[in-house]
Point group: C2
Chain length 235, copies 2
C-alpha cells in the first residue's frame, strides 16, 4: 500500500429526524449563520457533529441529537455512510466547520442515522449556538442545504420507505397513539410518494392485523368525525 | 465542541463476499500471517483496506476487492459502518496493520460492503502478499477472525436475509444460470437459517413468477435427474 495515498479524514454523524404533523412529513434541521466577507449567510443543515475519540458510532449519534435538540432515548438506525471527497468542498462549509470546531478540516466521512419521532415530542429548539426547527420535507427537498445533506435526506427517505414494508411498525412511530385511517393514508402516501385511492387503502388496511379499530371517534373536528384506530404490536 | 476530544481515525472498507457451491454458503477470506516474537501466527480476515485520500467509498470498495482477488465489475452494496473504538484493540491486529501499512494506526472506522457472486467466477486467489480462499460460512462463524470481522459477517448475512425478501433477485446472483429447485431451497434455507419442507417449498416457488421451469433436466448426476429452472427478471 503506497503510503502517500493515505490520509486521515474526520468521521462525523448526521441525523435525519422525521416527524409527521398529520398532514405533512417534516424533517428536523439546524439553522446556521455564517459570517462571510460580505455579511451574514443563513442556511440549514442536519443535526450532526464529528465523533469523539472514544465514542462508538451509535453513542455519537445519540449524543449529537441530544446536544442539538435535547432529545433523549430516541431509536436511531444507521442507514448509510457518505464519503465523497467532494462533500466538504464548498468554501462556505469549510469556513463554518473551521469556525465551529477550531480544527483544520479536510475530508469528512459521515455516517447517516435516521429516526422517526412523534412530532409533539418536546424539543429544545434553541440552545446556546444553534436553533433547530421542523421543516416540510417537500420544501426541504427544494432547498440548498449544507454539504451533501440533501442527498443524505433523500437516502434516509429511501431507507424508511424500503424498511416500512418489512417493519411496518416504523410507520406508527410517526402517528399519534390514536389515529384516523385518513392520517395513516396521508403518511403512507407521503413516504411512498404515492397517491392511494381512499377505498383501496381502506381495504388494504383491513388486512393489516396490527391496525385495530377503537370504539372512539375523533373529537373537535369541523368535518364528520372519523373512527380512531391504534397500532398493536404483533410478534 | 471541545477540541481535545477530537481525533482523526482512519477509514477503511471491508468486503463480505458470499458465494454458493450448490450445497453451502461460502465467504471469501484473506489469509494473513503475522510474525510474532514466538513465531508465525496465521488467521483470516475480510478483504479490506484503508481508503485513499481522493477515493469515494464505493470506489475504494471496488479497488480493494480487485486488488485482493482480481474481481472486477462486482456489484457491491454498502450495508453498515463499524466504529467501535475497541475494534482495533488486539495487539496482533495492530502489529499486522503497522507492518502492512507502515503507518501508526489508532482507531479505524470501517465501512462494510456485501457482494453476492457466482462461485465459479474466476478469482485470482494468490497474489504477491496475500492468499484468498472460499470458506464455509458455518465454519467461518466459529473461527476467531481478525478485528471485528466475525461481527461484520454476521451483520452482512443479516443484511442479505433482510433484503432478499424485498429484492429476491439477490438470491439468484448466487445460483448457476440454470438451477434445480433443490439448489434453490438449500440456498434459501442457508440464508434464512431455516429448514423448509420440500413440498411446501415447491408450492412457494410455484408462486414466484420470476422462477421459470425449463424444458431441460440435470445431466451427469447419479440420482434421478431433476428439472432445471432459470430466473427471469420481472419489472
Amino acid at each position: 500500500m503506497s503510503n502517500e495515498n493515505i490520509y486521515n479524514p474526520h468521521v462525523s454523524i448526521d441525523c435525519v429526524v422525521f416527524g409527521f404533523n398529520g398532514e405533512k412529513l417534516k424533517v428536523l434541521l439546524i439553522e446556521r449563520t455564517i459570517k462571510e466577507n460580505n455579511g451574514l449567510y443563513n442556511d440549514k443543515k442536519l443535526p450532526g457533529s464529528i465523533i469523539f475519540a472514544d465514542e462508538d458510532l451509535d453513542t455519537a449519534a445519540s449524543r449529537v441529537l441530544n446536544e442539538l435538540t435535547g432529545l433523549k432515548n430516541i431509536y436511531l438506525s444507521q442507514f448509510h455512510s457518505f464519503g465523497n471527497p467532494k462533500r466538504t468542498e464548498n468554501p462556505r462549509d469549510i469556513l463554518w466547520l473551521e469556525n465551529t470546531t477550531q480544527l483544520k478540516i479536510g475530508r469528512i466521512v459521515t455516517v447517516g442515522y435516521v429516526a422517526l419521532i412523534k412530532i409533539d415530542r418536546k424539543i429544545q429548539f434553541k440552545n446556546e449556538n444553534t436553533t433547530a426547527n421542523w421543516f416540510d420535507l417537500n420544501e426541504v427537498l427544494k432547498m440548498n442545504l449544507a454539504f451533501d445533506h440533501s442527498e443524505i435526506i433523500h437516502k434516509g427517505l429511501e431507507y424508511i420507505r424500503h424498511n416500512m414494508d418489512i417493519e411496518p411498525h416504523l410507520l406508527f412511530e410517526l402517528l399519534p397513539r390514536k389515529f384516523t385511517i385518513s392520517q395513516l393514508r396521508i403518511l403512507y402516501d407521503t413516504v411512498h410518494q404515492s397517491r392511494s385511492d381512499v377505498r383501496n387503502f381502506q381495504k388494504k388496511v383491513a388486512q393489516w392485523p396490527y391496525v385495530v379499530p377503537l370504539d372512539e371517534m375523533e373529537t373537535g373536528v369541523s368535518h364528520r368525525a372519523a373512527r380512531l384506530y391504534k397500532y398493536r404490536k404483533t410478534k
